[in-house]
Amino acid sequence: MSLQPIRSPRELGPIDYYTSGHRTCAGCGPAIGYRLATKAAGPKTVLLGPTGCMYVANGHQFLTSPYAVPWFHTQLGGGGAAGIGTAAAFRALISKGKRRREEVNVLVYGGDGGFADIGYAGLSMAMSYDYQRLLYILYDNESYANTGIQASSTTPWGATTTFTPAGRVKRIGNERMKKNVALTIAAHPGVRYVATSSLYPPLDLANKVRKALNSGGPAFIQVLTPCPKGWFFDPKYTVTLSRLAVETGAWALWEYEEGVFKLTYKPTRRRPLGDYMRMQGRFTHLSDEDIERLDRMAEEQWKLWLEADERRRLILPWAPPPTPL
């Protein structure tokens, strides 16, 4: 049975499959994403959790579980393989008559450490197979937040983290540019569905999860999920920051469906990047000039995204690394 697109949050129904019983931070973006993604996937789903915030913070001293569907841990670098092993087991058991015929969703919910760094090869391996209803969601909070905010390869340029602290000599903090994992996944031949998402607009993630599961092959969604602990902002602004990320062009929302590219959110006028960055403590050490330069970069990249959208073809939005002053 294919999952239908929704036009109102009410269509997702009252039941949660990621519910109480965890101990994530107030305003945790990845937890909101988990709740929306699992609601969209529904009860016939197996969840797999690579190590990360959504493993450790979802465990609880008192052994309560937030999962109302089957869930199993996988190692930090094991997300890709865990999804393939689970999907292969269902296919083998069903085709050999050892289990009743029925579609089961396999959803691997891993962080940027798990999918952009240590488990990147495994994710790539998984995307080269043809298992259906197998979805990898990268909840991107732009750091190893669970271990105390260390930089990952999706941490943006200029963010201060415990491994890349801004200091008197190293003024910028993180000097690597954010890896766009979704673009690299789109480069896998035959891949049916790749998307980026965030917690805003409200229906974006749920609908992309459903499209991904219906796509007929393994699918990937990179979801920008603001992290109050690692980005240093008031927990009440998690969704506001998601909105600002997409409205400033810091995070472009798009989908790539069977070779056709489309921006799924186009602000009428791109807001200045400073609106997004100045709300976060991790960028406070940057000068107005730095932010100005980053804004010009975002403008150049945004033109490329719009061009890609117009042509319905993927263009790799390249930008030179900003040189620190």
């Binding site: 009860p43 016939k44 789903t45 197996v46 797999l48 493993y55 450790v56 979802n58 465990g59 609880h60 001293q61 008192f62 052994l63 579980s65 999962y67 109302a68 569907v69 089957p70 869930w71 199993f72 841990h73 996988t74 190692q75 670098g77 094991g78 890709g80 393989a81 865990a82 999804g83 393939i84 092993g85 689970t86 292969a88 087991a89 269902f90 296919r91 083998a92 058991l93 085709s95 050999k96 050892k98 289990r99 009743r100 029925e102 089961v104 090869a121 495994g122 790539s124 391996m125 197979y129």
Partner: protein, 410 residues
Amino acid sequence: MSAAAAKPVQRLAPKTRIWTGTRAIAEAVKIADVDVIAAYPIRPYTGVMNELARMISEGEFSAEIIVADSEHSQFEIAKHASAVGARAFVGSSGVGLLYAAEAITVTALAQLPVVALAGCRALDDPGNFGMEWNDTLVFRDFGWLVSWARDAQEALDMTLVAYRVSEDRRVLLPHFVAVDGATITHIASPVAPPDERIDGFLPPYKPPYPLDPDYGPVTKAQHIAPSLIGTEQRKVVDVSAKRSREVIEEAWRDFGRRTERSYPPFVEATYMDDAELAIVTMGAYTKDAVYVAGKLRGRGERVGVVRLRYWRPYPARELRELLEDVRGIAVLDFSYSFGSPDSGGAFYNELRAALYEASIRPLILDFLFAGGREPNVTHFEKAVEVTRRAVERGRPERLVYWPTLRGEDI
């Protein structure tokens, strides 16, 4: 009595094939009707995956075979397939096993009955196709059961028994079938695959809590507070490993009834009834050890051979019973453990630990074949002679010898 009933049933002699060890193990995987296989190449175990891929491609049996991106992924794939309720097969050699170490460890601690072939090979650096046991012995502590075959036939048989033991609800632990690289993986020898009497030896695999929405929600391997159930969870694995002993005995008894090949479950003893000196070892070189013992018996020396068939669970009880009465033991050891007690191999020191509780402790010498250089029967003969002289003198000159070393054994 009816004519039909009186008609004698003719039992055909089992058809013998000439198979390498990896080919023989692939046959066991087929007989076990394994559902998910995860492959990644490294010598010398790779042959089993080549065979399985060919069998599946030719339609000899049906399974999902995944070509993984690394050994870590390989073992994660097998672990997760097993959690759903699929029978899984995997394997590796040498540094490949160590690359997968994290996934291998959690497979046991999450109690998933995956069966893996370990084709033993020397570890890097430098790269070396020679045979050492360290790649497998390092996994001694986590709950994996480890059996050690002496030839291709036993490797096939052990693979089937491994699934039966691992999937038993009293055990639920993964299982390495270890074979010596080259001498078993690559050497073809006569193998008799089991006939139809093997049907029913392996009941369908049913995990107690499958990761399948049909069985309701289950949260498995959640992060825990150490003070709450950490200790009890480890005790569960400990008890499973202990209980595996009775399950292994049962399985080999049943296997013997169905194949007319009977094996002692844990330890194979040759010429041990009146032995004064014993050679203790595992794997393919046991045949050479038995040849040497036979030759020495021809000269009137009372030498026997003891072969461990299982490294985990460790057959301490059987070894104590067999070795309490001997005066000296020559350990043929293909493992090392630099800086260990008396600089002995891992295999040697484990045996010493087991015999510490023996009522009379024999003298135990380690003959350590490190680095993959092949020993021959003269090395083994010499080992017995050195042990005999040490026994006669009443004390050993030294405890550890490197017989294949060129130059001074410092």
